[in-house]
Symmetry: C2
Subunit: 365 residues, 2 copies
């Protein structure tokens, strides 16, 4: 019933790999895209619909749940799975990224981070120990160590401090971690500096985590820079451990990430764009709000078999968007998530059949 990563197959031409993660709440086929449920809900999607879409694991945020409703309430409710009615695997982010995003509202020391709540301005302190305690209380299957995530651009000396701190904090998280039914991942930092990424990997691999996250990317750098970092960082990570690229979820970045050997991805993009009326299709993105779709009676994507595409037209969904109807966000969120989850399914099939490179080439055509 514990955590285990099974490496099933590796691509003969790239770093792409097919795997399976076993957790107390079920199995995750990798590469996988994880829908984000920041506040203990994937916005506008019922858990049973997430299941139908094919989501095998979702992500939630320590920072948000700590502030609201409070981790004591989630614990009292029987843990996060029970609280949010999701009995499949969950991953919680440590809150590091969220706290650092607060900018002037937070102050970092070696002890931890003092910050003001974005909700009511109240002051809080989160340390590696505290972040681990909260995540132990929430009870996700996979939890993150508390890291320092720097912005882009970031000068070398600052990035170096963050890497050293992230290493120290990872140790403290490991020591504080109390539940053997949760897998604690280490997070690699180092901005876009090769030596720093190498150092971060070396430090964390030394500690032997059951999985490794690649943090500090998709924070404003050009995509090429991100791919460059993945190119030299991922191969250093242990072959027998899952690798998670944090905060990345555009279709092209998922394919590239998989090529470099990443197994797990998460991003708010598909659901956020959905709520703004932008949908992903096999022919590219579509802004459904545009007048051009007012009499378009085709589904969002004729190649998609999601509930939205099986039952509703672009014209109808555009009407819902224009009329400010909640159903718009519900249908577009279902579609966008299904689109990315289906993409990952196709990628897994391509890796299994050793035609990943061919699949990638066709996708860009």
């Amino acid at each position: 019933m514990g955590f285990r990563f099974e490496l099933i197959k590796e691509c003969s031409q790239t770093g792409a790999r097919l795997g399976r993660i076993h957790t107390p709440h079920g199995v995750i086929d990798t590469p996988v895209f994880m829908p984000v449920g920041t506040q203990a809900t994937v916005k506008a999607v019922l858990p049973r619909d997430l299941k139908e879409i094919g989501a095998s694991i979702i992500l939630s945020n320590t920072y948000h749940l700590y502030l609201r409703p409070g981790f004591d309430i989630v614990k009292e409710a029987g843990g996060l799975h029970e609280f949010m009615g999701w009995n499949s695997p969950i991953l919680t982010d440590s809150g590091g990224f969220q706290v650092f995003s607060l900018g002037s509202l937070r102050k970092i020391t070696d002890d931890g981070v003092v910050f003001k709540s974005h909700l009511d301005g109240s002051e809080h302190f989160i340390s590696p120990e505290k972040a681990t305690e909260i995540q132990n209380a929430l009870g996700a299957d996979i939890i993150m160590s508390f890291d320092e995530c720097v912005q882009y651009p970031c000068d070398y000396s600052q990035a170096q401090i963050a890497v050293d701190r992230t290493t120290q904090w990872a140790k403290r998280c490991k020591n504080a971690h109390k539940r053997d039914d949760q897998a604690l991942f280490g997070i690699i930092q180092g901005s876009v500096y090769k030596e720093l990424r190498f150092k971060s990997v070396a430090d964390l691999v030394e500690m032997d985590f059951p999985g490794y996250s690649i943090g500090g990317l998709s924070v404003g750098e050009p995509k090429d820079k991100m791919y460059e970092v993945l190119d030299y960082t991922v191969p250093l990570l242990p072959r027998d451990k899952p690798r998670y690229l944090m905060g990345v979820g555009s279709a092209d970045a998922l394919i590239e990430g998989v090529m470099y050997g990443v197994d797990m991805f998460d991003c708010v993009l598909p659901t956020r764009e959905a709520r703004h009326g932008t949908v992903m299709t096999t022919k590219g993105k579509i802004v459904l709000r545009n007048a051009t779709y007012s009499r378009d009676y085709n589904p969002i994507d004729p190649e998609c078999d999601c509930y939205a595409c099986s039952n509703f037209s672009r014209a109808y969904i555009r009407h819902l968007i224009k009329a400010d109807e909640i159903l718009a966000a519900m249908l577009t969120s279902i579609h966008n998530l299904k689109f990315l989850i289906d993409l990952m399914k196709k990628l897994r099939k391509a890796i299994l059949e050793d035609r990943f490179v061919e699949f990638k080439q066709n996708f860009y055509k």
Copy 2:
């Protein structure tokens, strides 16, 4: 495949009756509560979830669909059923009530109503013929004649003018009506004046509509007044035709209405209150936003078997409400609709077993 009302059983002590309405898109067991989908969507509920809840017919609004997206688009899409992905029965309101609610934005003459759109201020004219043409284009199974609905209080002479106009307009709607797969109902007006209600009933019954709506109630009058009107109006309506009380949907008013012999009801209340975090339970209404529910791990209503009550706690739904999450409205809407639809199911069972009076007494205990 046409429209037909089947009277199955009448209560031995009250006016309550059990029936079945046959329509081109399916059968409706009565008494029935019809969820409202004003803008071609029952707010925050997927059509398949409405089906699961047990909704057998939903209502939509001519006024809103005429303005947005436009009835030509709905027609082009293949009609309202196809457009909104709901292949069960639909009823459309004529727009009379909505137009009269515009107050200073509309002007009524015997010809029809000139009004300004609540969306963009553009000027429009709806006549009985136009309202019928639009409803023929939308293609609902049951459509309404265009009536003049007066507010409460309303003096006798004004109410009298509205009754006469409603009669004239009902004739014009009947003449304009072009589809025999749609049942056109007449609407009884007359405010709270017995003679006027009698006159309205006599006028419309003379015209032999396949069903009769009781309009002009639940417009601000005390509930006792409404029950008084039902008490003397409903018995005058033909026994073999369905009777629809417009805009009524609180649990107690449904039970009272059924007692007087009403077969159909609609109301935005259950979904509107749901979006504001108020839910209906067998023990009365609950305002989930209140702090008292922050650690309440019971379902909304332990006696309810809806998706929300089967999977989530009051504490979780309260968290969603506080966090402004769409999922809150989704879950509370499912629950409130299921609550009223289940209530109607229990009422039908009670009538079938001739224990309606007993059921009513127990409900108020």
